[in-house]
C-alpha cells in the first residue's frame, strides 16, 4: 500500500519540523517528506488541506479492563476509542484480573490487541507476584514476553526493603520501574485532597505528604540502586519540584501527569461529584498551577490519559463508596490542545508531551514521523469544535466529568503502520 498525505501541515516536535509538506508512506513506513521517492505512485491520497498532521499519541497509562473486568471495557472497545482520539500506542498498567505477572497475561493482551482495531497495546509487568507487594515477579520472563517496564500499579509494597530489592532486580534487567508515589499508610482511607473542600464535605482527606513522603523515599532508592524510575501521575506542586530537583541532580527519573490534573481541582468535587473521584485526588488550585508549570518547564515531561473506564454502577453510590477513575482516552488530545489555547505550552511542546516524550519513556521508536519511522500518525482539524457527550462517546466507560465542555480540534484520521484505522465520517 502506498499512501500520500498531501497539503499537510506536519508538526513533528522530535524532528523540529513544523511546515507544509507531503508525506509519502509505503507499507508501514514514512518513506519521504516533500519530494516523492522515485517511482512512487500512491494508491490512496488524503488531502489534509487546512489540517495538522502529528505523530500518533502515545498514552502512558490506559486501563483496558481486560482481562478481568470486561463488564467495564475490553481491549476491543477501548482501542476503538483510542483510535478515534488519535492515540496509536498505549501502555496498560498491570492491575488486571489476574495481574500481569507472568508471560501468559502478556500474551493474552498482545493477542487480543492483534484482533482489535490496530492500536498498539503494550503492557507493563507487575513488580511483585500478584501485585501482592511481598515477592518479586519473574521480571526476566516478563521482559522476554515483551513488557516495557514493571510497575506496582496502585498497590502497596510490604516494605521499603522489598522496594529496594525490586528496583535492584529491575535495574539488572534494564527494566524501567513505573511507580506511583503514594504512601498508602498516609493515604489511609482518604478519597479527596486534604484541604478546605474535604473538610467542609466531611470526606476523609489525603494529605500532600502521602505523595511527597513516598516520592522522597523513591528518589533516595533510585539514587541508591541506580534503577531507572518513571513516576506516575503526580498531583502536587511540591512533588513536581522534588522531581525537577532530582533531574537536575542527574537522577534517572521521569514523571507524568494525568491530563485531568491540569484542569480540575478539589473544588470540582464540591457537590459530591463522583465523576471527579480519582486517585491521586484532585488537589488545590495552587497544585494545578504548579503542575502546569512543571509540565511547561519539562520536569513533568509526559501527559497521559490515566484512562479508567467504569460501568455506570461504579459511580452510582455515595462518594466514598464509588470507584475512582475517569474514562479519559477521548479527552487526552482535547485537553492537551486546550493547554495551548490557555497559553501554558506552545503547540509543538504540547504535542511533544503526548508523543515523543512518552515514547522515549517507554523506549519505543514511535512518536516521530521522520522518514524511516513507522507511519503512526493522526490528522487533526484544529478548527472543528468538539463537545464530548454520550451521543459521540466511543469508550465503553462513560465516566467523564468533561461531558459538555467545549473543545476545539477533532481527529479526522488515525493511521497505524500506514493503515487507516480511524476515519471520521464528515457530518
Amino acid at each position: 500500500m502506498k499512501l500520500l498525505i498531501d497539503n499537510a501541515r506536519l508538526l513533528d516536535p522530535a524532528q523540529g519540523v513544523d511546515r507544509n509538506t507531503r508525506i509519502y508512506i509505503q507499507k508501514d513506513m514514512v518513506v519521504a517528506l516533500d519530494e516523492a521517492p522515485e517511482g512512487f505512485e500512491p494508491q490512496r491520497h488524503i488531502d489534509a488541506a487546512g489540517r495538522l498532521v502529528i505523530p500518533g499519541l502515545v498514552d502512558l497509562a490506559a486501563r483496558m479492563r481486560e482481562p478481568g473486568e470486561e463488564h467495564k471495557a475490553t481491549i476491543a472497545s477501548e482501542t476503538r476509542a483510542a483510535a478515534s482520539a488519535g492515540i496509536t500506542t498505549l501502555c496498560c498498567p498491570p492491575d488486571t484480573g489476574p495481574p500481569v505477572d507472568s508471560p501468559a497475561e502478556v500474551e493474552l493482551i498482545t493477542r487480543r490487541a492483534k484482533q482489535a482495531c490496530g492500536v498498539r497495546v503494550h503492557a507493563l509487568g507487575a513488580l511483585t507476584a500478584g501485585l501482592g507487594g511481598e515477592q518479586l515477579s519473574e521480571m526476566a520472563a516478563l521482559k522476554r514476553a515483551g513488557v516495557l517496564g514493571v510497575s506496582q500499579a496502585l498497590k502497596p509494597m510490604a516494605s521499603h526493603l522489598l522496594l529496594r530489592r525490586a528496583m535492584e532486580y529491575a535495574a539488572s534487567h534494564e527494566l524501567t520501574v513505573f511507580l506511583h508515589p503514594i504512601d498508602w499508610s498516609l493515604n489511609a482511607r482518604g478519597c479527596v485532597h486534604e484541604g478546605p473542600v474535604g473538610t467542609r464535605l466531611g470526606l476523609p482527606g489525603i494529605p500532600e505528604a502521602a505523595e511527597t513522603a513516598a516520592l522522597g523515599m523513591i528518589l533516595a532508592l533510585s539514587e541508591q540502586t541506580g534503577a531507572r524510575v518513571h513516576l506516575c501521575r503526580l498531583s502536587t506542586t511540591r512533588a513536581a519540584r522534588l522531581v525537577a530537583r532530582a533531574r537536575v541532580d542527574g537522577l534517572p527519573v521521569s514523571a507524568d501527569v494525568a491530563a485531568h490534573q491540569l484542569f480540575l481541582t478539589d473544588m470540582d468535587v464540591a457537590d459530591f461529584n463522583t465523576l471527579c473521584h480519582v486517585i491521586p485526588p484532585l488537589r488545590s488550585q495552587r497544585d494545578r498551577d504548579g503542575l502546569r508549570q512543571a509540565v511547561a518547564e519539562g520536569a513533568v515531561s509526559a501527559i497521559c490519559s490515566d484512562h479508567q473506564p467504569h460501568e455506570v454502577d461504579s459511580k452510582l453510590a455515595p462518594f466514598p463508596e464509588t470507584r475512582p477513575g475517569i474514562s479519559a482516552l477521548e479527552t487526552l488530545l482535547p485537553l492537551t490542545l486546550r493547554l495551548v489555547e490557555e497559553g501554558v505550552l506552545s503547540l509543538a511542546e504540547a504535542i511533544r508531551r503526548v508523543t515523543s516524550n512518552p515514547a522515549g519513556i517507554l523506549g519505543l521508536p514511535v512518536g516521530t514521523l521522520a522518514p524511516g519511522h513507522r507511519a503512526d500518525l493522526c490528522i487533526v482539524d484544529l478548527d472543528t469544535p468538539y463537545t464530548p457527550e454520550p451521543g459521540n462517546w466511543i469508550s465503553q466507560g462513560r465516566n467523564s466529568p468533561f461531558f459538555g465542555w467545549e473543545f476545539r480540534g477533532r481527529v479526522t484520521h488515525t493511521l497505524v503502520a500506514g493503515r487507516v484505522i480511524h476515519e471520521q465520517v464528515s457530518d
Binding site: 501541515r9 495538522l52 486534604e194 484541604g195 478546605p196 474535604g198 473538610t199 467542609r200 464535605l201 466531611g202 470526606l203 476523609p204 482527606g205 494529605p207 484542569f263 470540582d268 464540591a270 457537590d271 459530591f272 461529584n273 465523576l275 471527579c276 454502577d313 452510582l316 453510590a317 455515595p318 462518594f319 466514598p320 463508596e321 486546550r338 495551548v340 489555547e341 490557555e342 497559553g343 484544529l382 478548527d383 469544535p385 466529568p401 468533561f402 461531558f403 459538555g404 465542555w405 467545549e406 473543545f407 476545539r408
Partner: protein, 336 residues
C-alpha cells in the same frame, strides 16, 4: 489555525450544588441535607415553627393531623437509637405512618445496591426518607436520585452533616440566650470526625454568632478547620474563657486505636469539662452535648447533671425541631 484569544471559554461540568438541591422550583425546602445553603430567615422560620410544637409537646394531647396519610421511612444504615426514636416520635405526633428500616442488617449484606433499596421503597409510595448513613454525601446522593414525590431528611451522613441536630442546638441556645450576635460559643473535642460540629458551625455562622471556637488537639481537628469560620484553640483553659455556650462532643473509643489520642484518661485530663474549667466561662454558660455523653471521658458527671447543663432539654427539643422540619417539607401549612 485558530488563536488562543477566540478559544471557547472553559465550561464547568454540569451538576447541581448542594444548596440548590435542597429547594424546589418555588424555592421551598424540598430536602434537608445540610445546613449549608440555608438562609438565616429559613433557619429562623424553622426555629419559630418548632416553638409552637414545643409548647404542644408539653400538653397531654400531643398529636396533630398535619401529615395524616403521609408515610415516613426511617432508613438507618448506621445504628442509632436516640436519633431514630426522636424522628419516629416527631413523625407520629404529626400523624404520619412510620416505617423503621435497619439496612445494615438486611439488604446491603445481601449485595443489594443502595439505589435498588431506594427504588423498592419508592415503589411503595412513601413520602419521606429519613436517612442515616456512614458515608459522607450519602443523603445528597439519595436526594439526587429519588423520585420527584419523595423528600430526603438527612439524619447524619459520615462526617459531613447532621442538620436537625444543629437546628435543635440552635433552638436550645436561642431559648436560653436569645440573640446570637453577642454570643461566644465553644465546641470541644473530636471535631475531625464530627458531622454534628460541622453542622453547628454552619448554623452558628449563618445566625451571625459573635465568635465560634473549636477546642481540640491538632489530631482531632480537620485540615484547614479555620476555613469554616472558627477560631482554633489547642488549650481548653484559654478556649473556655468568657464563653456563653460550651458544646462537648462525644469521643469514640476507636480514636485511641487509630492513634489520634494516647488514652481516654489523658483526654479527660486535657479536655474534659470539669466544674473548675467551666468556671472559666461566663457565669451562666450553657453546657450542651449531642449525646450520648461519656462521663469521665469528655465531661464530668457533676457538670453533665449540673445546673448549667441543658443536655436533656436538647433531647426534648429535638422532637419539636424535627416536627417543624418534617411539616415544612411535607405539609402545606406550617402552623399546628
Amino acid at each position: 489555525m485558530s488563536s488562543a484569544a477566540d478559544a471557547p471559554r472553559l465550561v464547568s461540568a454540569p451538576g447541581p450544588l448542594p444548596a440548590s438541591l435542597q429547594f424546589n422550583e418555588e424555592g421551598r425546602l424540598r430536602h434537608l441535607l445540610s445546613i449549608e445553603g440555608l438562609s438565616r430567615e429559613l433557619i429562623t422560620e424553622i426555629l419559630d415553627t418548632a416553638e409552637s410544637f414545643a409548647s404542644m409537646n408539653a400538653q397531654s394531647v400531643k398529636k396533630v393531623p398535619l401529615l395524616r396519610g403521609k408515610t415516613v421511612v426511617n432508613l438507618f444504615f448506621e445504628a442509632s437509637t436516640r436519633t431514630r426514636t426522636t424522628f419516629e416520635l416527631a413523625a407520629k405526633r404529626l400523624s404520619a405512618d412510620v416505617l423503621n428500616i435497619n439496612i445494615s442488617a438486611s439488604a446491603t449484606v445481601k449485595g443489594e445496591s443502595l439505589l435498588d433499596t431506594l427504588r423498592n421503597l419508592e415503589a411503595m409510595y412513601v413520602d419521606m426518607f429519613v436517612v442515616r448513613h456512614e458515608a459522607s454525601g450519602a443523603a445528597h446522593f439519595i436526594a439526587r436520585h429519588v423520585a420527584p414525590h419523595v423528600s430526603v431528611l438527612n439524619a447524619g451522613d459520615g462526617r459531613h452533616a447532621h442538620p436537625t441536630q444543629a437546628l435543635l442546638d440552635m433552638f436550645t441556645i436561642r431559648r436560653h440566650k436569645g440573640d446570637f450576635g453577642a454570643l461566644r460559643v465553644a465546641i470541644v473535642g473530636d471535631i475531625l470526625h464530627s458531622r454534628v460540629a460541622r453542622s453547628q458551625i454552619h448554623a452558628l455562622n449563618i445566625l451571625n454568632t459573635g465568635e465560634i471556637r473549636v477546642i481540640a488537639p491538632q489530631s482531632l481537628l480537620p485540615a484547614h478547620v479555620e476555613s469554616l469560620g472558627v477560631h482554633v484553640y489547642n488549650d481548653i483553659r484559654a478556649g473556655l474563657r468568657d464563653v456563653d455556650v460550651v458544646i462537648m462532643l462525644r469521643l469514640q473509643r476507636e480514636r485511641m486505636e487509630a492513634g489520634l489520642l494516647p488514652s481516654e484518661h489523658e483526654f479527660f485530663q486535657l479536655y474534659g469539662l470539669t466544674q473548675e474549667r467551666l468556671a472559666l466561662a461566663k457565669p451562666k454558660c450553657l453546657v450542651m452535648h449531642p449525646g450520648p455523653a461519656n462521663r469521665g471521658v469528655e465531661i464530668d458527671s457533676r457538670v453533665a447533671d449540673g445546673p448549667q447543663s441543658v443536655i436533656l432539654e436538647q433531647v426534648t427539643y429535638g422532637i419539636a425541631v424535627r416536627m417543624a422540619v418534617m411539616s415544612m417539607i411535607m405539609g402545606g401549612s406550617v402552623n399546628p
